[in-house]
């Protein structure tokens, strides 16, 4: 799951480097290029990128643990955003919280929302895995064999979850007016505090996951299950339980991502689809199935997308992530952090 940076074939890196140089040259030539715009591109790119990274982290985690690609992951992201928003609306007009913490009122509510999204999405993920995905493995062979059925089930789940959310919350975009304070000044640039929040919380979640996987007993078990189900069984790990845990954690992280995005953009029923696709691009760019790679890929896609829409053309914003993915697949198919080749469904 954690492979060292692969110093790939020399040719690959040279061609890829040439592409990067051409791209940078293109951006520098743009009339909009100056230090101010570069700063805002970097901040926005990083903050959007960490969101892609968080969703990509979940996709990669499920891929390593269950050997399937979860195509309904964007919907967990969307429902997570709604879960956070619901909690926000519940707490938003409670005067007693305001009376106890007059200064940090908005922050405390927002942290509670993040926590709600995390826990509720974790439980929801375990529920989905147990009720909808697990029965597909009944015929034996576990997730590796039932893979194709589960991938298609993922598409179906995506449609179902969107429509359930549509029934509950209707398709109108909803604002998430978290009061996190005034914009912050960093290096002469005024940034909305939510951008900083996204980066800080996102990186902490990623760091927390790293710590969990590498330093705790449960994390050790998860890494074992991700490598081999049979051997994990033989050392006494309850593999079905651990598969649920892996799915739950991945969904919980997606839920946090949704709530992080809420205050900056708006919460809409259809927000999951495009995030899933871009997170997929991020995972491919970073190296599919590699967890640090997912975060690095997320940052890369985020910055590339923001810079391109700033310096090249803003009207094709959604194109760039996939352009980058195609280029990476053509030149460096393993992504930045290549993973060992493994039989997957």
């Amino acid at each position: 799951m954690f492979n060292k940076l692969r110093i790939g074939k020399k040719g690959e890196n040279i061609i890829f480097g040439t592409f990067v140089l051409i791209y940078i040259g293109w951006c520098v030539n743009s009339p909009d290029m100056n230090i101010e715009s570069l700063k805002s591109v970097l901040t926005i790119g990083l903050s959007v990128g960490i969101i892609y990274g968080l969703v990509a982290l979940g996709i990669s985690l499920i891929y390593t643990g269950l050997d399937v690609v979860n195509f309904s992951h964007g919907e967990f992201f969307m429902i997570g955003a709604f879960a956070g928003l619901t909690m926000f609306n519940l707490l938003g007009n409670q005067d007693w919280i305001f009376n106890i913490f007059p200064d940090a009122y908005g922050w405390i509510i927002y942290v509670v929302c993040l926590f709600t999204a995390f826990v509720s999405m974790g439980l929801f993920g375990v529920f989905i895995e147990r009720v909808f995905l697990r029965p597909l493995t009944k015929k034996g062979g576990g997730y590796t064999v039932a893979g194709m059925g589960i991938i298609i089930c993922g598409f179906g789940l995506s449609v179902v979850l969107i429509n359930v959310a549509y029934l509950i919350w209707n398709p109108v975009a909803k604002p998430f007016p978290a009061e996190l304070g005034l914009p912050m000044e960093i290096g002469g640039l005024f940034l909305p505090i939510t951008y900083i929040w996204m980066i800080v919380v996102g990186l902490s979640v990623a760091a927390g996951l790293w710590f969990f996987l590498n330093k705790t007993k449960m994390g050790l078990g998860i890494r074992a299950v991700a490598y081999s189900k049979d051997v994990s069984n033989l050392v006494g790990i309850n593999v079905p339980l651990y598969i649920s845990i892996i799915f739950g954690i991945a969904c919980a992280i997606a839920g946090i991502g949704g709530t992080l995005v809420g205050p900056t953009y708006q919460v809409v029923v259809f927000m999951g689809y495009i995030i899933l696709m871009k997170a997929f691009a991020a995972a491919v760019v970073g190296g599919f199935g590699n967890l640090p790679g997912a975060i690095v890929g997320g940052f890369t896609v985020g910055i590339f997308e923001t810079a391109s829409s700033f310096y090249i053309s803003g009207s094709h914003k959604d194109l760039y992530a996939f352009l980058l993915m195609i280029v990476v697949l053509m030149i460096k198919p393993t992504g930045f952090f290549g993973v060992q080749v493994k039989m997957k469904a």
Binding site: F2, K217, Y227, S228, S232, N233, V235
Partner: protein, 218 residues
């Protein structure tokens, strides 16, 4: 088929005769269609695999089934995954290093960098970490140099002297029978010959079932 307490029993047979399948059924990786598997007087054929490990019946896989991206210590700690107390885990780690000093020398290396013999030691050590009552070894001599096979078999004997029951699945008939007290020879999924290992050593039918079983009638 029976395995007495604190004995070493060898299960022999050619390729594809179902030796490993028996082990996989006993450790719960696959379900048996009929028949029962009893361990300490309890039927275990319908238990999930991790509970069978909890009962004290552990299968030791072939050396290639380690976690290559983890260190030797981490691999061994995984073996003791079902242990509740940390002290117990450390004690068992000490015990395994005592059996296999070579692993102690390499405890911080990634398992992927170990040699074949060391991998096999790691697998056996991992099996011993959970305080088992009985271990089932799946071809401990596969693809190893004779010197190392001897070393490993000596250790298996030591493990038995410390009170464990051992079931060895082997293709290396001679070595396995030297080690074991009792032997079973399996052919086409059915037990063909059984008996005291000293007797089996000179039994003609053992050779036969190894060479495919059918005698050419001229």
């Amino acid at each position: 088929m029976k395995v007495e307490k604190q004995s070493i029993v060898a299960l022999l047979g050619g390729n594809g005769t179902g030796k490993s399948t028996i082990l996989r059924a006993a450790s719960g990786l696959i379900r048996s269609w009929k028949g029962t598997i009893e361990f300490n007087g309890e039927q275990i054929q319908n238990l999930p695999a991790h509970e069978i490990v909890g009962r004290g019946l552990v299968q030791v896989t072939q050396g290639k089934d380690v976690f290559p991206a983890m260190s030797v210590t981490e691999n061994l700690k995984l073996g003791g995954f079902i242990l509740k107390s940390k002290q117990q885990l450390l004690d068992n780690l000490e015990k395994v290093y005592n059996y296999f000093p070579r692993l102690n020398e390499r405890k911080d290396q990634l398992a992927a960098t170990l040699s074949g013999g060391e991998l096999q030691m790691l697998c056996i050590g991992r099996g011993l970490m959970s305080n088992p009552k009985m271990i089932m070894l799946d071809e401990p001599s596969a693809a190893l140099a004779p010197q190392i096979v001897l070393d490993i078999f000596k250790n298996i004997n030591r493990i038995r002297q410390d009170g464990l029951t051992v079931l060895v699945v082997e293709q290396n008939v001679r070595m396995a029978l030297l080690l074991a007290d009792y032997g079973y020879v399996i052919k086409d999924g059915v037990i063909n010959v059984e008996g005291d290992s000293k007797k089996l050593m000179y039994d003609e039918s053992v050779k036969e079932s190894y060479l495919g079983g059918t005698k050419a009638n001229v």
